[in-house]
Subunit: 253 residues, 2 copies
Amino acid sequence: MFNKQELIDFCNNARDSYLAHISIDCVVFGFHEGQLKVLVLKMKNEQSWYLPGGFVLKNEPIDEAANRILKDRTGLDEIFLQQFHVFGDPDRSRPHREMYNHMLPPSENWFANRFLTIGYYALVDFVHVNPTPDSHSEACTWRDLADTPQLELDHGVILKTALDTLRLQLNYQPIGYNLMPKEFTMPELQKLYETILDKKLDRRNFQRRMLGFGILTRSEKPRKGGAHKAPYLYSFDLANYQNALKEGLKGGW
Amino acid sequence: MFNKQELIDFCNNARDSYLAHISIDCVVFGFHEGQLKVLVLKMKNEQSWYLPGGFVLKNEPIDEAANRILKDRTGLDEIFLQQFHVFGDPDRSRPHREMYNHMLPPSENWFANRFLTIGYYALVDFVHVNPTPDSHSEACTWRDLADTPQLELDHGVILKTALDTLRLQLNYQPIGYNLMPKEFTMPELQKLYETILDKKLDRRNFQRRMLGFGILTRSEKPRKGGAHKAPYLYSFDLANYQNALKEGLKGGW
DNA sequence: GCCTCTTGGTGTATTTTGAACACAATACTA
DNA sequence: TAGTATTGTGTTCAAAATACACCAAGAGGC
């Protein structure tokens, strides 16, 4: 939350720079230690949590805007981003719109406007992300999907919609490629699928089908160090993966 | 295209009524005589064709806006509508933005603004539609998908994206229910699937699979009148259909 | 070192599903 | 009433999904 002077400065700058009525909110997924994670922000001086978001510069393509916003939050550029839905209820941001009523008249207060928000989901390699709060926030952190805090406004709905979209697109987008590190074991990849789909899969059939798609290349060296048998390391063959996705990975899970 | 006075009136009204920077464009699909059809508009005094579209009232949910716009073009209310993509390139409407430069300075010209457009696709029962031009247009007509005119701005891309989405969602949305009349024969339904997917399907396997889903109810009376064997009439069991779609109609086509 | 436990990798039998095709039924035509 | 075009149903064969058995490799206890 801003104090009055911060608010005035922000609003002046926003009016000059950004398109009115339009915002972007991002659901950033990562995968670490067998858990699907989401990046969330905690607002200064309040127990309120948000998805990373921002506005669109007056002459900026919206995909670039989403990329810019996420670069600020993660340190990563060229992130895998998919637009998935516009949330356009006139009341969706009412608490935001009224929040600064006591500081500024609505005509001068950027946040008093109605905003449609364009929802993007992003897939990132967890270990490369450097979570960075924005000027409203005091914290930017990963949370397990099963352990996300209550989110403000309609951000809970946005998150849920993103997750539903992710499930539907699992066979049509390079989701594994973008969420896994370069090299990974088959059980790790299976855990990702199980987490996204929220159900157990048969270990042996999973392996056979995955290999059957011809989108994985096996490293020479297995992973060392862990207890028990050393699993092989795999990486995605991006060209084959993209090609297979055009038709969709056939069959359900 | 407006003359100067029409333009001034439109702009004054638009500024008071609509959200800036946001428009809606609709791809209306119908199905008639074995052909997938799209509703297009022809602008007054020009050989230029557009998709039906409009703007969002300042306090109107976007889904309602799309519904309102389509009610004006089709006479139908409560149309099946799906938001599918936002087109947000800053240059997407450049020709529109410059079109009235000689009549009004940009600051007073609504169309000189940048617009993001939210793409909706609509599915309607062809025979119930009463195509109605808007104030820019001299004609509003159905065109075969294979015979659509060149569309202005990025409307060609919007149409193509809608069609791709339609294909992907065929097993997840009640597309048959919304495009077919109440009663139809199995070969007619098959033609719809073949048209959307743009490939031939085996008549007998199609029939067995469709019936296997348990989403159709067969009428007592077959269709009379045509030459040759009278086919049965079917209608969708909406409750079962919706239920089956939650999981997706399993298998590909 | 040997046994056992745990985890990863491969093979096989059974069931289910999908594709291809033959044939019967119906309604109009000649 | 035979002919023809079209619709409805059944059967066959192959492919794919599922379930399960077995083998391999590494770690720790004794």
